[in-house]
């Protein structure tokens, strides 16, 4: 009997030890729990997602050859030690030696070649950015040359943001699905567990090589999806989460949070633009917006100033064009369509819609109240909308958008954190782009010219021209450039970055001030 008791005791002790090692201890100080927002975490593999939070998480558990240093805003080597232009279409990278993936697999030139091929393959959602990248040539284990089909002025930014590096042997062994279950990278954090399909945890990677990102400061990182706005705030209030990832949807909760809770809010300017996209070419089977007068009527119907003031609470700046002032090539001097419902109705009447019409209006990934306000503004001039809110289903929304199924949509675009006008103009206004719902041969030609030159002054001129034509044609009704919010506990040191890539590995907890008794004992000891 005594033996049995001792056996059980021994077993329980072993279990306790095992549990404390295997289960992340989520006490504050040891851990950082991040609310990713409402978009479902359908995949963690950045090759198969356009969700911002998948991109953000990747840059915490993975690395790229280059890295944007948020303090200097410069692109610096990361998985590479150095790089140089061999010719206008070839960049040579000397890879960092001694780097291993989290599973022990060595990082070398074959990983770069494998990753580029994977990211360019059919099904990859970042292939649109990498389509101009021809191949990765292995020179030796630690030297690789990346060739582009034409001189690519944004090559370094694209490599820094979207050339995600995968472990070839592991990926080959476990496949896409296995990788999904247990992602392996080289980054400051390494995968620990899926708590459930909407919550993933990481541990600091002890052998991380360090510069330029630096080692993770907080040992455990968990990231979770909470599908609705109010429960997200509740989770912050009660300490279930420590930080709400940069968002452009929680502005209305700010007065309450600042008034009644111990949380702080940070915001930064960004590339993120919110806009209404009209189907000007009839891809969705709806013809209304083929008429430029209707598109202009929509533009005049929307009261941007009021929406920014009331729904974004000022955490956004009015936008008349397509790009953000942070994009290289931003053109502020474009045709403006000020709020003028009378003019809007007149234009609708001229276009043979004196009584307006009814149309489906799809929204996701944006401020829900802003979407409702736009619908109200449109209703006031006679355009009745069936508003379809796909809040948490960004992936599904975006797939449908690319398939050309939306006659009218309110969406958001962060340009994959590429600070160049091409990152928003190419995916939406080049003739063959799946996100194109309206362009002209002239715009298509100008954008191609801009893509074919490395001369920045010429590119600027091309982008300027393209943006002027786009505004004149009123393909979109741009609303604003948002200043995304990060909401967090006051004792968390974390600064969101203007590129909307949260670097959780830089976060630290403030030390609690010493209590009087602690001070007393310290003095005694001294």
């Amino acid at each position: 009997m005594k033996n049995l008791f001792l056996s059980v005791l021994f077993a329980l002790t072993v279990c306790f030890l095992l549990f404390s090692v295997s289960s992340p201890c989520l006490a504050e100080g040891n851990s950082l729990i991040v609310s990713l927002g409402s978009q479902e975490l359908q995949t963690i593999n950045p090759a198969y997602s356009t969700s911002r939070h998948v991109l953000v998480l990747y840059h915490n558990w993975g690395d790229t050859l280059l890295y944007r240093d948020p303090s200097t805003k410069k692109i610096v080597p990361c998985l590479s030690e150095s790089f140089r232009m061999i010719d206008p279409q070839t960049i040579e990278f000397n890879l960092r030696k001694g780097v291993r993936f989290h599973n022990g697999e060595p990082f070398d030139a074959s990983a770069v070649k494998f990753s580029l091929n994977l990211l360019k393959s059919p099904g990859s959602l970042v292939s649109q950015y990498l389509s101009g990248f021809e191949e990765a040539q292995i020179i030796d284990d630690h030297t690789v040359r990346i060739k582009t089909s034409i001189p690519n002025p944004t090559a370094l930014e694209i490599i820094a943001n979207t050339l995600f590096i995968f472990p070839p042997h592991y990926y080959g062994k476990v496949g896409k699905e296995g990788f999904e279950k247990r992602p392996v990278g080289t980054g400051p954090y390494m995968f620990s567990s899926w708590k459930n399909p909407q919550e993933i945890c990481f541990r600091a990677y002890p052998d991380y090589f360090g510069k330029p990102k630096g080692k993770a400061q907080i040992p455990l990182l968990c990231a979770m999806v909470i599908p609705e706005e109010i429960p997200q705030i509740q989770a912050l209030m009660i300490g279930r989460v420590d930080l709400s990832r940069s968002t452009n949807a929680l502005q209305k909760q700010i007065p309450f949070l600042l008034g009644t809770t111990d949380l702080k809010v940070r915001s930064t300017p960004s590339l993120r633009t919110n806009f209404v996209c009209m189907d000007s070419i009839g891809r969705s089977g709806v013809e209304f917006f083929k008429d430029k007068r209707v598109r202009r009527a929509v533009n005049h119907a929307i009261d941007k100033k009021q929406i920014i003031q009331k729904q974004y609470l000022g955490f956004a700046d009015i936008n008349w064009g397509v790009t953000s002032p942070l994009h290289f090539g931003h053109e502020p001097d474009v045709q403006k369509y000020p709020y003028d419902p009378v003019k809007s109705k007149k234009l609708l009447a001229e276009a043979d819609y004196p009584d307006g019409f009814t149309v489906d209006f799809f929204c996701a990934g944006v401020n829900e109240s802003a979407c409702e306000s736009i619908a109200k503004n449109l209703y006031a001039v006679g355009i009745k909308t069936n508003m379809i809110w796909m809040g948490a289903e960004w992936s599904e929304f975006y797939k449908k958008f690319l398939r050309g199924q939306f006659p009218l949509a309110f969406l958001t675009w962060g340009s994959y954190s590429i600070f160049d006008a091409s990152a928003i103009l190419n995916p939406f206004f080049m003739n063959n782009a799946p996100g194109c719902y309206g362009t002209t041969p002239e715009i298509d030609r100008i954008l191609k010219e801009a893509n074919n030159t490395l001369d920045q002054e010429n590119r600027k001129a091309y982008f300027s021209k393209a943006q002027k034509v786009i505004a004149e044609e009123a393909f979109w009704a741009p609303l604003c450039i948002t200043r995304p919010l990060s909401i967090m506990k006051k004792n968390l040191n974390f600064e969101p970055s203007y590129d909307e890539i949260d670097r959780y590995f830089t976060a630290t907890w403030k030390k609690k001030p010493e209590s009087k008794s602690e001070q007393y004992f310290k003095e005694k000891i001294n």
């Binding site: 056996s7 279990c15 989520l26 999806v225 599908p227 009660i238 279930r240 009644t260």
Partner: protein, 208 residues
């Protein structure tokens, strides 16, 4: 001698199985065990009232009152009946602008409150004996009635705030309120979709 050894062998076999049995059981159940942070989420009173205040604030943000109900009143008025902790949680918001109006929050419910216009009335579960009478007096007026008492909607109330304990991820999908749309519609109020998505919607008669 041999028997003794056999017995010892059986005993040590038994211990072996017990040890590994317990470890195995623990191992299987460990992934399902809540994390330490989740354990700590039995909300204390101030947290509960803080969360209730958050919900109340969101009702103010996302409910539409019929035009002209409050004429040109520059106040957004809330009455809290029987819940001082909730009142205290909302206190820092008093005087702040909510939807273009100054927020006014008062505690208690006097006779004149049954005739004067205001937007929201929260009735605590401890004040249930007064509920039927109060709701009857407020009939046909566009006042959003909220309570934390189970069965409030059966009595003709509009919103029942459910147990306000922590949102685990699973709870992130859970319904926070019960909304009686019959009563809401009768009062000519419109509740925003983001609140309805968090609600169990019921239709319960308001004839008393």
């Amino acid at each position: 001698m041999i028997d003794n050894l056999r017995r010892r062998g059986k005993k040590s076999n038994r211990s072996f199985f017990v040890i590994w049995g317990v470890i195995l059981l623990f191992g299987i159940s460990a992934p399902f065990a809540p994390t330490i942070r989740t354990h700590a989420f039995a909300l204390d009173k101030p947290q509960q009232s803080g969360v209730a205040a958050l919900y109340l604030y969101n009702f103010l943000m996302f409910v539409e009152w019929p035009e002209g109900t409050f004429h040109d009143s520059k106040l957004m008025q809330v009455k809290i009946f029987g819940n001082t902790a909730l009142f205290e949680s909302l206190k820092p918001m008093i005087g702040k602008i909510v939807r273009g109006k100054k927020l006014a929050v008062t505690e208690g419910l006097g006779k004149k409150d049954l005739v004067e216009p205001y937007h929201v009335l929260f009735i605590d579960s401890s004040k249930m004996p007064f509920v039927s009478e109060t709701l009857k007096r407020l009939e046909n007026r566009s006042i959003l009635t909220i309570s934390n008492k189970q069965g409030f909607t059966d009595m003709g109330g509009m919103v029942f705030l459910k147990d306000l304990s922590s949102p685990t991820v699973k709870e992130g999908h859970a319904k926070r309120f019960e909304i009686n749309l019959t009563a809401v519609e009768k009062a000519r109020l419109r509740i925003g979709s983001r609140l309805l998505r968090l609600s169990d919607i019921v239709y319960k008669g308001v004839d008393r």
